[in-house]
């Protein structure tokens, strides 16, 4: 049941409990219990909304930063990552295989904002040895959802055999 619920809400967290229950052929209590359990176990970590800020008045700048770190004694990657991800402006942090160690994605109001974060907060951390910052110019797709283009029109005829 948990897998079924997750599959159903992974692309749309707004189904009501009743709708989910109907879709999965169970009743509302079961859905509520299972969701609660998954929230407690942080299998479900949150329900953010995917917003295309480019279409609003509010400007947002996103940057991807490649970070190299030297893990300190008593302070492995996890600890460094935690010191980074605690900053509010940090959207995502991933530990990477390959040429650098962490990918940090941050959003700010302006390029200056982002630059300030990198120079004042990130690169000043003792364990950070280098950073390379790339600004996002346009978002095409996020969380499996295309961000460009308008609403898709129904192409099918109204009645077919």
């Amino acid at each position: 049941m948990q897998k079924k619920i997750l599959d159903a809400i992974s692309k749309n967290s707004r189904y009501s409990t009743e709708d989910l229950a109907a879709m999965l052929g169970t009743d509302g209590n079961v859905i509520e219990q299972e969701i609660k359990k998954m929230e407690e176990e942080t299998v479900i970590c949150g329900y953010p909304t995917l917003i295309n800020w480019d279409k609003t008045e509010n400007e947002k700048v996103t940057a991807l930063i490649e970070v190299k770190v030297t893990p300190q004694r008593d302070m492995g990657f996890n600890k460094v990552a935690e010191r980074i991800y605690k900053f509010d402006e940090v959207e995502s942090v991933y530990l990477m295989s390959g040429g650098f160690d962490l990918t940090v994605i941050i959003t700010g109001k302006s390029m200056k904002d982002v630059a300030r974060f990198v120079s004042e907060k990130l690169s000043t951390l003792e364990s950070v040895t280098s950073t390379a910052t790339y600004f996002v110019m346009k978002k095409y797709k996020e969380y499996g959802i295309a961000m460009t283009g308008g609403k898709v029109e129904e192409e099918r005829m109204l009645i077919t055999p």
């Binding site: 709708d19 052929g25 109204l158 055999p161």
Partner: protein, 390 residues
């Protein structure tokens, strides 16, 4: 001037769907739960393969029976999914949709006056194709009390010494009925006893809920007397690509191929390349779509229960077939009024045969939000009807 037309063709009734389509088209803001094709786009990796084939300049005919690679994949797929073993060279042919395969199989097998047993309600093309091939359709009316399955008794009653072919339209459009292994056993027995051939339209074979589809060709002694028809339209959401296939014994397939060779030449090349990709790497897409359809099916069944609208539970395809007999109207009247009063298009059950009277075909090839909107309209409509009756 002489009459240019063939009597046989003129006498074929236009499809009931067509008539309804014309009414719907005159309404500008109607919404619909009347569509018989998936709402999903063809998965991108499949479309991409089609595009790539065009870029590579693969814009020529393929061999008549279809690309060798595609036939090989079809044979592998039939084995993987349904345990059927076909020789990809002589027992598989690629057609323009399941549609062409239905027509070709009937034309290759029927002599004037041969009887073809046709269970209804079922897809609209069988009956006219039988007639065009000079066969005689013998309709078996499936009933809700049997969950719209073909029973041994019904089949037996329809068999005469002229019967040659049985059409097996399961999973069924429009009822959503399926035939399980147990359901098929009695049918197989009769088919063999009376030396019949079967055309098994398995176009919805990927869309069954609660158990894998069982092909009648998988029974001992049945492969040599069955043409299995399948295709890409429903399982891979590829209706517009116009691609299907037939699998069957070489002696029949070679004659079908003759018709295909002269009437069609070959199925669309771009679609064939895309279909290779679908069969090689599309299992996961099918699974995803099946899960989505199943959610919608549950959703509709629950909604009908809440409305108190009688509906047997369908286990296949993407249709539900609720009963509207309580309202004392024909399916046609009901559907027409629903369209005029609530601007919702559904298909009257009678479009699929007289035994569809008293039922509606409602498709769930729609998003949950669309289904909700449609269900609201149905609910409003029947609530009004019930109030008027009291």
């Amino acid at each position: 001037m002489r009459n240019p037309l063939s009597k046989k063709v003129v006498e074929i009734k236009p499809s009931g769907i067509r008539k309804f389509f014309d009414i719907v088209n005159e309404m500008d803001d109607a919404i619909s739960l009347g569509v018989g094709e998936p709402d999903f786009d063809t998965p991108w990796h499949i479309r991409e393969e089609g595009i790539y084939s065009l870029e590579r300049g693969r814009t020529f005919y393929t061999s008549n029976a279809g690309l060798k690679e595609l036939k090989t994949e079809v044979a592998k797929y039939q084995h993987r999914r349904f345990g059927l073993e076909y020789d990809s060279v002589s027992e598989v042919m690629i057609t323009i949709g399941g549609s062409e395969a239905i027509d070709g199989a009937l034309r290759a097998m029927i002599d004037d006056g041969d009887e073809v047993i046709l269970p209804q309600p079922s897809y609209v093309s069988y009956e006219p194709c039988i007639v065009l091939a000079n066969g005689v359709p013998v309709i078996v009316e499936l009933e809700e009390k049997d969950s719209f399955k073909l029973t041994k008794e019904k089949l037996e009653a329809a068999i005469t010494d002229k019967t040659k072919i049985l059409i097996m339209p399961f999973p069924n459009n429009p009822t959503g009925a399926i035939m399980t292994k147990e359901d098929l056993e009695g049918i197989v027995e009769l088919v063999i006893k009376h030396d019949l051939y079967v055309i098994s339209d398995e176009i919805y074979s990927e869309l069954t809920y609660g158990g894998n589809h069982v092909s009648i060709a998988s029974f001992p002694g049945m492969k040599e007397r069955t043409i299995v028809i399948n295709g890409f339209s429903k399982s891979y959401a590829m209706t517009g690509w116009r691609l299907g296939y037939a699998c069957g014994p070489k002696n029949i397939l070679s004659q079908m191929l003759k018709i295909h060779q002269f009437a069609i030449m070959c199925a669309p090349t771009t679609s064939q390349y895309a279909a290779v990709e679908a069969l090689k790497n599309g299992d996961e897409d099918v699974e995803k779509m099946r899960t989505a359809y199943d959610q919608r099916r549950n959703f509709l069944m629950k909604a009908f229960k809440d409305m108190g609208l009688q509906c047997f539970e369908p286990f296949g395809a993407f249709y539900v077939f609720p009963c509207i007999k309580e309202f004392g109207m024909t399916s046609d009247e009901f559907a027409t009024r629903l369209l005029k009063e609530e601007k919702l298009a559904v298909v009257p059950g009678t479009a699929f045969g007289d035994s569809g009277e008293g039922f509606l075909r409602i498709s769930y090839a729609y998003s949950i939000d669309d289904l909700k909107e449609g269900l609201d309209r149905i609910n409003r409509f029947i609530t009004r009807l019930r109030e008027q009756k009291d």
